[in-house]
């Protein structure tokens, strides 16, 4: 008897006990449905995160920093180690270093991280925020190549700034979006926030106010600065700018190195007077070398160059950080999530497998005589095993297919419900579930595998039926 005969016989036997077969198959379908929807949720989460990271172009950049505190020594209470790490002569993050990094093969842009607290004044309104300096060349990359209103600055010395919508709101303006009108909340209206057109904002004058040490005040009365109300040795420096554009509201996946209330061209920003330190080192460095920066942002041309360039910069004695390194950690996290979700589905499937064993043992008891007949007319143990094995496999296949359909329906409904709740709270519409083809095929394969495993014992039992016993006429 050939394999296909065994398969057809198995199917015919299933067809004979339809109701029982349907119930058993339904059990498998529920197991597979649970497994697929659980795992597709985990995969969907992972896909959303990695897509967002890719979307925000985080795979092509790294951050270079100077010497770090030896955290491991600090954790272990090794004070000497900490001091040693401070004292170690690390190369400074200065202009020379920047030029060296810029000249590395494959580096697209490198610039120092300059960010400092500022006060912003527009008309009569003012608010506290941070200013970040970026080169004009960043305008060709995400997220600055697609800013919703206005343009990224074309030159490093332009007197233009880009504003974050949250800062604009603090300045009591909200841009009206005709395509996506959002009503102002009651609190915002009460505060006097007004909805205005983008055109009325763009080109508007805005003042960037920074604190600087007023040496003359200290000289006038060296002891007066102890009086905290009148004697603080600071004064405000005002630098005029115009609003060149409005940024998108940053999402949780936005590159944190670009999130800032105000973004200004790097050349112009460096001219803004400010308390002249960007790193702790500057405070303690007796040489007073203020050429050093806290960090560099380095963007590479191609993702695959990242490792190589990272290594080269580390050879120079600097520390580097890239999201790529983090991605491995993120992936590990998702493997744990997927495993946890998958386990729930697998438990459901194993319950279904017990159902298969039960159904098949029952049907073997009912069909003992028939098995005896098949043996008497020449059926070998392997052939009879095969027939029952195929019965189990067919339950797995059919259950798997229906399980996928079930899982698909469940995830679609869950997606609609989840999106309804999330969008109610102002969240974006996201597909929370993702079923890649390998998951679909894998689930069916797994279903068949588990079913065959469940069929192993019944099939063996069928093969061992004693024909003399089975055919004894009662």
């Amino acid at each position: 008897m050939r394999i296909d005969d065994q398969f057809l016989l198995g199917l015919a036997n299933l067809w004979r006990m339809k109701l029982r077969m349907i119930l058993t198959t339904l059990g498998v379908a529920i197991g597979i449905g649970a497994l697929v929807s659980m795992v597709s949720f985990g995969i969907g989460m992972q896909k959303n995160v990695t897509d967002a990271i890719r979307e925000n172009d985080l795979f092509t950049s790294l951050t270079v920093t100077g010497q770090e505190i030896d955290i491991q020594s600090a954790m272990q209470g090794n004070i000497e180690g900490v001091i040693e790490s401070f004292q170690a002569e690390a190369p400074l993050l200065n202009r020379d270093a920047l030029e060296k990094i810029q000249s590395l093969d494959g580096v697209e842009i490198a610039f120092p991280e300059i960010v400092f607290p500022v006060k912003v004044r527009m008309g009569n309104e003012e608010t506290q925020t941070t200013l970040r300096a970026l080169p004009a060349s960043m305008g060709q990359f995400k997220p600055f190549n697609e800013i919703p209103y206005g343009h990224f600055f074309a030159s490093d010395s332009a007197s233009l700034v880009l504003l974050n919508p949250s800062v604009l709101k603090e300045l009591k303006r909200v841009v009206k979006d005709p395509e996506n009108p959002v009503a102002l909340s009651w609190e915002d209206s009460a505060r006097g926030v007004r909805s205005v057109s983008a055109d009325s904002i763009l080109g508007k004058e805005i003042e960037i106010i920074t604190s600087v040490i007023d040496v003359s005040k200290i000289m006038q009365n060296p002891l007066n600065y102890l009086n905290t109300t009148t004697g603080r040795p600071f004064r405000e420096a005002v630098t005029p700018f115009r609003i060149g554009g409005l940024l998108k509201e940053p999402s949780e996946f936005s590159d944190s190195r670009f999130i800032s209330g105000v973004i200004a061209p790097i050349g112009r920003a460096e001219e803004i007077p400010q308390l002249g330190f960007t790193s702790v080192r500057d405070l303690f460095d007796p040489s007073g070398d203020t050429e050093g920066y806290g960090a560099f942002y380095v963007r590479v041309r191609r993702t695959q160059d990242l490792d190589r360039i990272q290594e080269k910069i580390e050879e120079m004695g600097y520390n580097t950080f890239s999201i790529m390194e983090q991605l491995d950690e993120i992936k590990k996290g998702f493997i744990i999530l997927d495993t946890a979700l998958g386990t729930i589905g697998i438990i459901a499937l194993f319950v279904a497998a017990l159902g298969i064993i039960n159904t098949m043992v029952m049907s073997i008891l009912e069909r003992t005589r028939e098995i005896g007949i098949m043996k008497a007319i020449g059926g070998s143990e392997n052939e009879i095993k095969g027939i029952f094995f195929f019965e189990a496999g067919a339950i797995g296949l059919i259950g798997g297919i229906f399980g996928l359909i079930l899982g698909w329906i469940v995830t679609r409904i869950a997606n609609v419900v989840a999106n309804y709740i999330v969008t109610q709270q102002g969240g974006p519409v996201v597909d929370y579930f993702y079923m890649p083809i390998w998951l679909l095929l894998g689930a069916i394969g797994f279903s068949i595998f588990v079913s065959l495993l469940a069929g192993l014992y019944p099939a063996m039992r069928a093969a061992r039926v004693d024909p003399v016993e089975a055919l004894r006429h009662d």
């Binding site: 008897m1 050939r2 043996k375 007319i377 020449g378 059926g379 070998s380 143990e381 052939e383």
Partner: protein
């Protein structure tokens, strides 16, 4: 013994013993039986129920294993065969019919035959043709698509005979083939077996307790009593 038959035995049984346990009691079902069966012979074993005749037939059919002794079919010793070889023996060398027919109730007459052909390894497209041929040989060409429940006892036994012959075995083993049939139908079935023996030279080993009916067709009758052959009757020569 018939020397002529012994020259050409298709089945040679030597000192075969079968003991089994019924609870804690050991039953000696077959006690050192020896005899040969020639090609084209119609041999009948008669005896009361419990005389061990069905057990003997199961041993020859390869459904059961002997406790000791030898059992040669075409010079191959059944007592030395592996389970898979015994399955092959049941498929190719012997065909069995039973008192209770033992057809698969969910399958039609034709399907019962094609199942046997499938076990015999015939290609699927040839099976139907062959199965209907065999069924018409036993006079059932009009009953192909009937299930066993829709057939009379005589018809069901004919289907069983057809199934037993499907893979063209060397020996047909018949275990009380008329036990469930009325006397008229019994005669018809016995005549069918006689016809198969006479016309197609099928070797038949039959077990029955109906000695009178057996006498009309058998070449030889062996009388079994408490697991031993107590008497042999030679009735006619093999033609």
């Amino acid at each position: 013994m018939n020397t002529e038959d012994s020259l050409n035995p298709i089945l040679r049984i030597q000192k075969i013993v079968k003991n089994y346990h019924k609870g804690s009691i050991q039953v000696q079902a077959v006690q050192s039986i020896s005899f040969d069966v020639s090609k084209s012979e119609f041999i009948t074993i008669v005896g009361r129920s419990g005389s061990g005749k069905s057990t003997l037939l199961n041993l020859v059919g390869g459904l059961d294993r002997a406790t000791s002794g030898h059992l040669f079919v075409n010079n191959a010793d059944l007592t030395k065969m592996k389970r898979s070889e015994l399955a092959l023996h049941r498929r190719q060398t012997v065909g069995m019919i039973f008192q209770s027919f033992n057809l698969i109730p969910s399958r039609t007459a034709l399907e019962n035959i094609t199942l046997a052909l499938a076990f015999g390894g015939m290609k699927r497209r040839d099976r139907k043709q062959k199965a209907s041929e065999i069924l018409s040989r036993v006079g059932l060409e009009h009953r192909l698509d009937h299930k066993p429940g829709e057939l009379s006892g005589g018809e069901a036994q004919r289907v069983a005979i057809a199934r037993a012959l499907a893979n063209e075995p060397d020996i047909l083993l018949a275990d009380e083939p008329t036990g469930n049939l009325d006397s008229k139908t019994s005669i018809e079935i016995i005549q069918l077996l006689e016809k198969l023996n006479q016309k197609q030279h099928v070797t038949i080993l039959m077990v029955t307790h109906d000695e009178e009916l057996a006498k009309t067709v058998s070449h030889r009758i062996l009388h079994l009593f408490d697991g031993k052959i107590v008497h042999q009757q030679i009735l006619r020569r093999i033609s």
